[in-house]
């Protein structure tokens, strides 16, 4: 198990604050966050390239905070791959094998093994400058795997690849994970998280703000960034009213005349966002006779195709995005200008503090 305990690092214009993280053996952790959130620094901290000002990093119970980079057992694939341009692919992959005291024959065999594993055996005599993005990514993976790290750190390994190459490389990463490696993978891609990771760590401004399974992180986002990242379009700034009649029901003011109710206890911070999943909004032509506590009258302002159905933007005083099927769209003639009612339950609404 890898543990980060109260890690703090101060840079001239950036601070990593009090990061605590536990990564289990064979976990595949996606490290998510906006640009400048501190994700790459986290990788460099784990690799030993950056030393924390305070805090501890433990691996399998041993304190590795000040352990030499070379003996940590942690491999890092940089976003720009950092392939050695003056060496062939063969020499790049052989680089970490040179100091292991292997015979030339053993080195050749291992280079072949790792080249096969990453599907680059046909590129061994090429120089990095002549490789495509996908080929270079696979060579960088093969080289890092040749160092036989216990933990593999990947800094946006699938960025700048086309869809086909991404899919191929995802398969390679999945196989590496299956082979018994722990992976920590910086990404901005929902598909990568959904198809690869079993944990998501969210960083914001140098702090770890959420760490859980992908399902929990995206269903219960703790930050605006994650909420937007997970595709929630109805994210509306609000202020929680100090007192409500029902202590289990909170009232969030989203405009002068609109209040949205949600189920939950009153938060410490009263400023934030309410999230209303668009699939939980019921659209009708007349005020709905439902148990939903939130009922808003509005006008359709935009309608566009989305997947198998349609997405409507309804102006109610605030703009809400609603999903409907094509069948309902045609039947109800939901063209721009149409007056409609929107209903959604308080239990469907979530609050994210700022």
């Amino acid at each position: 198990m890898l543990q980060l305990e109260n890690i703090c690092v101060q840079f001239p214009s950036f601070v990593v604050e009090n990061v605590n993280l536990e990564v289990n053996e064979y976990d595949y952790v996606a490290l998510l966050g906006m640009s400048g959130a501190g994700k790459t620094i986290m990788l460099e901290l784990l690799a030993g390239l950056v030393k924390p000002d305070s805090g501890r990093i433990r691996f399998r119970g041993t304190d590795i905070t000040n352990k030499k980079i070379q003996t940590r057992g942690i491999g890092l694939v940089y976003q720009d791959l950092a392939l050695f341009p003056h060496m062939t692919v063969r020499k790049n992959i052989a680089y970490p094998l040179r100091h292991k005291g292997l015979t030339a024959k053993e080195t050749v065999a291992l280079v072949r093994h790792f080249a096969n594993q990453s599907d680059v055996s046909h590129l061994l005599n090429r120089y990095p400058g002549t490789l495509s993005g996908g080929e270079a990514q696979r060579v960088a993976l093969a080289r890092t795997l040749a160092a036989d790290p216990d933990i593999l750190l990947l800094d946006e390994p699938l960025s700048n690849l086309d869809i086909k190459r991404k899919s191929e490389l995802r398969t390679v990463l999945r196989n590496i994970h299956k082979s018994g490696k722990t992976l920590i993978h910086v990404t901005h891609d929902y598909m990568e998280i959904a198809t690869l990771a079993n944990k998501v760590a969210v960083m914001e401004n140098g702090r770890l703000v959420q760490y859980d399974t992908p399902d929990k992180v995206f269903k219960h986002p703790k930050t605006e960034f994650v909420a937007r990242f997970s595709g929630i379009k109805n994210l509306i700034p609000c202020k929680i009213k100090q007192k409500t009649d029902d202590p289990g029901l909170q009232a969030a003011e989203v405009s002068d005349r609109i209040t949205i109710y949600y189920v939950g206890r009153q938060p410490e911070c009263l400023d934030g966002y309410v999230m209303i999943p668009q699939e939980d909004i019921i659209l009708s032509e007349t005020p709905g006779q439902t148990s939903a506590v939130n009922n808003l009258k509005g006008v359709v302002t935009e309608a566009y195709l989305s997947g198998a159905g349609m997405e409507l933007v309804v102006a109610t005083g605030i703009d809400l995005v609603v999903s409907v099927s094509s069948h309902s769209f045609n039947k109800m003639k939901l063209n721009p200008g149409k007056e409609v009612w929107l209903s959604f339950k308080a239990s469907a609404v979530r609050f994210v503090a700022v």
């Binding site: 460099e44 690799a47 030993g48 390239l49 980079i69 070379q70 003996t71 942690i74 491999g75 890092l76 940089y78 720009d80 950092a82 050695f84 341009p85 003056h86 680089y95 970490p96 040179r98 100091h99 292991k100 120089y127 400058g129 002549t130 080289r143 890092t144 040749a146 160092a147």
Partner: protein
């Protein structure tokens, strides 16, 4: 378009003037040297010996002082430390001071009354009036060319490559010799060439440390002072030819290789 054409013409004219300024004196020197005078100088043992001595002394300076200059360049390129800019300024000092003044300064350090001079004498090394002194004088005035070129070379190597090598298990020594040095090689070779070339042309500092044994710049001056222009010119022509051959040869060797494919 018309303005582009005009500016190109003006720049071409000015560039031509500068190139003429560089080439004309040398061309004049060769044109005023007859083939017979040139051949006599080549056959002159004193000239040949002085050229050999000059080439070897400058080369020795390059080889000896590069052992410290290249690591210094690496530190200046990679490390952030208090006074780094001051050290960068110090490196350029030999270029900006008069070379006769540099010679006087070096003489103070290596003269027979100094501890270094006395230590050298005890070990049989004569700095003043000796080859060792010439090597030091040449290296002193030319070492900034190597340090600056090598520093620029190391700066151009992405640190991420060195970090990647460290995470792959390489020791800092191995990273230096397998990543940093090979990738900065071209600029370092340029620096070595420039240092050697600058050493070959040194007169001011060398003449103060060692009039004898006579390096070629000192020999040319001696011929000019003793026998006049017509005696000095053929020696100068032969020496300039040697310098050009060495310099052009080194530049060709240090050329950027074709893109590997």
């Amino acid at each position: 378009m018309l303005q582009n054409w005009k500016i190109s013409l003006v720049f071409l004219f000015l560039s031509g003037l500068v190139l003429l300024f560089i080439v004309a004196p040398l061309a004049g020197m060769f044109l005023q040297t007859s083939a017979g005078q040139y051949a006599d100088s080549v056959a002159d043992a004193e000239v040949r010996n002085s050229i050999r001595l000059t080439l070897l002394c400058s080369l020795a300076g390059v080889l000896i002082f590069s052992v410290g200059a290249v690591p210094l360049a690496y530190l200046l390129a990679r490390k952030r430390f208090p006074g780094r800019e001051f050290v960068n300024g110090l490196v350029d000092l030999p270029v900006v001071i008069p070379h006769s003044a540099a010679g006087i300064a070096i003489l103070g350090v290596v003269s027979r009354s100094s501890w270094l001079g006395q230590a050298g004498e005890a070990a049989g090394i004569h700095f003043v009036g000796g080859v060792a002194g010439i090597v030091i004088a040449m290296a002193y005035v030319s070492i900034p060319f190597l340090i600056n070129a090598a520093r620029d070379g190391f700066t151009s190597v992405p640190e991420r490559l060195e970090n990647a090598a460290l995470t792959l298990g390489a020791s800092p020594w191995r990273v230096f010799f397998t990543i940093s040095l090979p990738l900065a090689k071209r600029q370092i070779l340029t620096g070595l060439t420039m240092m050697w070339a600058r050493g070959l042309s040194e007169f001011g500092a060398v003449v103060i440390i060692a009039y004898h044994p006579m390096v070629t710049p000192v020999l040319i001056w001696e011929r000019f002072a003793s026998f006049g222009l017509s005696n000095a010119r053929p020696v100068a022509a032969v020496y300039v030819t040697v310098c050009l051959v060495v310099f052009v040869g080194m530049r060709l060797l240090g050329r950027k290789p074709q893109e590997k494919s």
